[in-house]
Amino acid sequence: MSLLDYFRISKVGTASVAKERLQILVAHERSSKNQPSYLPQLQKELLAVIQKYVNVGQDAISVSFEQDDDQETLELNIVLPDHK
């Protein structure tokens, strides 16, 4: 820190923002790296089927793929609308 820096109004640098964005992005890209390429299509078709029966929005369904040492799992999450 220089003396002049010390008197400068301390502004937060952009490096910390960069780091945060990178951490999120890299974690996401690493986890989706090995996922099968049919996943987006599968998600689209599943949504179409579900929408035939239930009135759900585009983001009501999420499909995620996980890979452990010896097994692969496909996790399907559907959020149903609450009806009173």
Partner: protein, 268 residues
Amino acid sequence: MARIIVVTSGKGGVGKTTTSAAIAMGLAKRGHKTAVIDFDVGLRNLDLIMGCERRVVYDFVNVINEEATLNQALIRDKNCNLLYILPASQTRDKDALSQEGVGRVLDELKKDFKYIVCDSPAGIEKGAHLAMYFADDAFVVTNPEVSSVRDSDRMLGLLASKSRRAEQNEEPINEFLLLTRYSPDRVKLGEMLSVDDVQDILSLHLLGVIPESKSVLNASNSGTPVILDEKSDAGQAYADIVARYLGEDRPHRFIDDKKGFFRKLFGG
């Protein structure tokens, strides 16, 4: 045993060719017979950085196509007789390289050389893939900047899955981080990602930090690898990197702001 080193990054313009030239020269200067290969077919530049552009007769593609022998194509460096350069072709494109052909040339080089440094082109296409495919060690050149860090991470994924070692279930490629164009003063101001930030994200073994330095342009202007400029900060940083790679323990010299007390005091 010969070792194949790939200098790679994903992103373009981060300092791969500068690094390839410097470390190849460094290894040769330390007494190891070294070859450096330009994989950037169509955009050859290593010859300029090494200062041998006027001596190129045959190139890598000629050797692959058996239009010339390896000995005809290799150019002995003017500064160090243990260093040889295999230039890229300027008139062909990257499809002129084949996995079989590259493998054949590397096998032949391995008989005679201790280190083979592969200067990768940018991107993740064929040229970059073949540059890293046969590697034993990877020098991942990264700038402290978001897109470069992201691309390096992508490259790490490819090194771990699409290389010969990965495909044949051998020991994985040794991966090293080379953080280049680093400005300690900007890091201090919070304007630039720090070594620790980049390490947190990539978790790679840090081989060294090369500061942003005017000496790099001077070196390329004159066609001498910057490591030969022993007084320069970048030259010393590359010399440290070579020493660390060869197993020596060297403190990191260029991570902290090196400005004098008075300049610090007045923010010069």
